[in-house]
């Protein structure tokens, strides 16, 4: 097996979805930067929602028990 094939196999074995990488490689670095900023904004928004829920936990209504 070539070292290139080894590298791809090893990344897949480590859990990387290389279809994401293959998509990324079709973009320019500037486009990758913009896509990443969108993903980071989503992560930060999810964290904000999580923190808000920890700060103000909702009571569970009897109907949903």
């Amino acid at each position: 097996m070539s070292s290139a094939t080894d590298a791809i196999t090893e990344a897949e074995r480590a859990g990387f979805d290389l279809s994401l990488v293959e998509h990324s490689l079709t973009l320019t670095p500037a486009e990758r930067a913009r896509e990443h900023d969108g993903a980071l904004a989503l992560v930060l928004e999810l964290e904000r929602i999580r923190d808000e829920r920890h700060a103000h936990p909702q009571s569970i209504s009897p109907a949903s028990r």
Partner: protein, 162 residues
């Protein structure tokens, strides 16, 4: 929210001479991992530190690894030799390193660096092979994992080139 791109552009607009390194360099090379801080390599001469203070002044930069979160604007005093800066700002964190473990100093990085254009500014980016070397030299689990993806990126790029 300010983005890492805006941070890069602010530095580039001000004429700061730097190379993007770390996780964001991985993203720019094609990594799928998300990172929240910007790491750059630059020469931390007295003049360059003064320039960084001017560029970052409005963003309230603080030394993020000091318990008192000392302001970068007046700490350390001008003329103090610096190797690295680890800052938290209103726009997020930025680490500025004068050399990269496993690769070398700014001049070494710059010689091999790739570059790309972001909103008409040319931004230098650590070469993919150098980034892999740096991640493997760090040796932490998360860096070794990132290096595996970067090696796959190098392999896919080589396949596309052939």
């Amino acid at each position: 929210m300010h983005t890492l791109n805006q941070f890069l552009l602010r530095l580039a607009d001000a004429g700061v001479d730097f190379v993007v390194i770390g996780g964001y360099a991985g993203v720019l090379h094609g990594s799928s991992l998300v990172t929240r801080n910007l790491e750059i390599c630059a020469v931390l001469t007295e003049a360059n530190v003064a320039q960084l203070r001017r560029v970052l002044a409005e963003l309230h930069p603080k030394h993020r690894l000091t318990p008192q979160a000392l302001s970068f604007l007046d700490t350390p005093p001008p003329g103090t030799p610096l190797d690295n800066l680890y800052l938290r700002t209103d726009w997020g964190t930025v680490d500025i390193l004068s050399r990269v473990l496993g690769v070398g100093d700014f001049e070494r990085l710059k010689r091999q660096a790739e570059s790309f254009v972001l909103e008409s500014k040319r931004i230098r980016l650590i070469a993919l092979d150098d980034l892999i070397r740096a991640k493997e030299a760090l040796g932490r689990e998360k860096d070794l994992l990132a290096a595996k993806e970067l090696r796959a990126i190098a392999a896919l790029r080589a396949k596309d080139d052939s």
